[in-house]
């Protein structure tokens, strides 16, 4: 089955309903399907083996993903923030492709790779001019790859993760009721098109017939303005965006956000302070923390609105702590925590998170990472408490191994962050002659505070954790390095600490 079915069904049921608003232009489901069929013609003509996108979010992303699906070639949105050399290498890995986006840049860095290149405007215009002929066309049956996404490569070179039509449809059909959205519902999509959350947002919105409102370039003011002007009801943000939105509201940006019913967040660790403030700022909205990976077609666990409210209202520290959890696995996914030797661990035992289900691809272009029983090792480390709430302690690769003892950076950071003068903290492994690895910490001082002494911080960690967790090296920095999705770049912190 082909993911284009999602758009075909939407157009069949509500051809004239507004599907997408971008830069003031409105597209109906019928318009989008016609354009996707037009894109099919262009793709066939070009003999491209991929459809790549080097652009911010726009209607072109929707048209390209479904056009590519109809043509049976993988859609590969690329991170336009990458430096030229990295981007040229990724474009080389998908050549020959039909590439949509920054025409000047693509031509300059990859003009000799055999691509067919369109600017966004040219592509959007051309696909509308092409007269679709669905009756005389053989569209792809959807047995292959729908989407190829390069992983962000925070720990190594980018891997080409593969999502099949069956993975994405498994996720959407299993978790979204067709046409379940109200005609007044609107989802604000601000995640870039090369992020899995941006792609799943398009698919679930289209299948539920929820209008998509796109904000191609995030700014807190632009986001708040759109919430107001388009009466947005649902929004997904990454933690850094939510922090900036709350900050802008605190600094006096006032718009009516009363239409917002649901705010979902994910893609990185949400600081407790930010979520507390956001819950106050948006009293009418239900908050959902979604945990997922590229390789799992988006969400595999979530902490829903009721969990958020219960945690806020509770006096029980264990229930309050759920605000930092990822919630529970969704009903269509199985999850296990496994130890170093692959053994399945019990409640409150930390190990690596494994998932299994239709939506879990776990597949890279080079090889599949699934085990013989179909389980995918996420390389995320965490544990589940006795009530089934999942807590993340970091990437499995980030675990600090000191003299054979495994330590997660998260537990050390959590303690350091309890110091009133510490605004942000990153613990990571630094080389040690004696132990192989030992703990280093990069810290950011809170505005208006003096940096505490190293002894004071070491005493703090020693009072709460085993002495092996006490950082041997502490360095104060102006800010920690995050990528644009809010992911902490531990690799860079390690470099700073190693010098």
């Amino acid at each position: 089955m082909n993911i284009a079915l999602l758009l075909e069904m939407a157009a069949e049921a509500a051809s004239d309903r507004v599907a997408l608003v971008c830069d003031g232009k409105r597209w109906t489901y019928g318009d989008l399907l016609d354009a996707a069929r037009g894109a099919f013609e262009l793709i066939q003509e070009s003999e491209a083996e991929y459809v790549a996108l080097l652009d911010e979010s726009s209607e072109a992303a929707v048209i390209a993903v479904f056009g590519a699906a109809l043509a049976g070639v993988p859609y590969c949105p690329l991170n336009y923030r990458l430096p030229d050399a990295d981007l040229a290498a990724l474009l080389g890995r998908v050549a020959p492709a039909l590439v949509v986006g920054d025409e000047e840049r693509i031509t300059r860095i990859a003009g000799d790779q055999g691509h067919t290149i369109f600017s966004r405007e040219e592509f959007t215009l051309k696909v509308q001019e092409t007269v679709p002929e669905p009756d005389s066309r053989e569209y792809d049956p959807g047995e292959g790859i729908a989407i190829q996404l390069f992983t962000s490569g925070t720990t190594a070179a980018p891997k080409a993760a593969i999502l099949r039509h069956s993975n994405l449809l498994g996720y959407i059909l299993g978790t979204v009721e067709f046409a379940s959205a109200d005609e007044a519902d609107a989802a604000l999509v601000v995640v870039p098109p090369y992020h899995i959350a941006g792609i799943s947002a398009l698919m679930s919105s289209i299948y539920s017939l929820r209008k998509i409102v796109m904000l191609p370039n995030f700014s807190p003011e632009g986001w708040l303005e759109l919430v107001h002007s388009e009466a947005v009801t649902n929004a997904f943000v990454v933690p850094t965006m939510l922090a900036r939105i709350v900050d802008a509201m605190e600094k006096g940006v006032t718009v009516n956000t009363g239409s917002l019913r649901a705010i979902a967040y994910g893609g990185g660790k949400m600081p407790l302070e930010v979520i507390h403030k956001a819950l106050e700022r948006f009293p009418g909205a239900g908050f959902t923390n979604a945990y997922g990976l590229t390789e799992t077609s988006s969400t595999v666990a979530l902490l829903g609105p009721d969990d958020h409210r219960e945690a806020l209202a509770s006096d029980d520290p264990k229930v309050r702590a759920r605000l930092t959890s990822l919630g529970k696995p969704i009903p269509t996914v199985e999850m296990q925590i496994r130890g170093e030797n692959g053994e399945v661990l019990g409640p409150n035992e930390a190990g690596e998170i494994y998932v299994r289900g239709d939506q879990v691809s776990g597949e890279y272009k080079e090889k599949s990472a699934l085990d013989a029983e179909g389980w995918f090792p996420t390389r995320d480390a965490g544990y589940m408490d006795e009530h089934g709430y999942l807590f993340l302690s970091g990437r499995a690769d980030d675990v600090i191994v000191r003299g054979g003892e495994n330590m997660s950076p998260g537990e050390i950071e959590d303690v350091l962050l309890t110091h009133p003068a510490i605004a942000d903290a990153c613990a990571c492994a630094i080389p040690s002659v004696e132990w192989g690895e030992t703990v280093g910490a990069a810290l950011v001082t809170r505005e208006g505070h003096d940096a505490p002494s190293e002894d004071e911080l070491k005493t703090l960690v020693r009072s709460r954790l085993r002495s092996s967790r006490v950082p041997e090296k502490i360095r104060f920095v102006d800010e920690l390095p995050y990528n644009e999705m809010g992911k902490l770049l531990r690799r860079k912190v390690k470099e700073v600490l190693a010098n």
Binding site: M1, N2, L5, E8, M9, E12, A13, P141, G142, E143, L173, G174, T175, V176, E177, F178, A179, S180, A187, A197, S200, A201, S204, Y207, N234, F236, A262, A264, G266, G286, T288, A290, S298, T299, L302, G304, P305, I330, P331, T332
Partner: protein, 96 residues
């Protein structure tokens, strides 16, 4: 028959996508479904006329069959004469 096959009703407008199937006869409105529509419409059986709804998934009791309705119609779905029932998605709180 394999997953991804699109089947049309001989008795009404209903069309389904096969998500899962076995060797039995898939019917709509009491008549066998096929990849093409027959030249002459089959009569709609009154026992199978409750209708098939757009976007709903229909399953049998053993979980061997699953059909997704991609075009609604007056007939209802069955396999070897046994009616299929609606399977609900497990909607998430809007997470994306």
């Amino acid at each position: 028959m394999k997953p991804g096959t699109r089947l049309k009703s001989a008795a009404c407008d209903t069309e389904v996508m096969v998500i899962r199937c076995a060797d039995g006869q898939i019917e709509c409105g009491g008549a066998p479904m096929g990849e093409a529509k027959p030249a002459e419409a089959a009569p709609l059986s009154s026992d199978f006329s409750a209708g098939t709804l757009m976007g709903k998934r229909y399953v049998d009791a053993d979980g061997k069959y699953e059909l997704l309705c991609v075009k609604p119609g007056k007939g209802s779905l069955s396999v070897d004469g046994v009616a299929l029932v609606v399977k609900d998605a497990k909607p998430l709180p809007a997470s994306d």
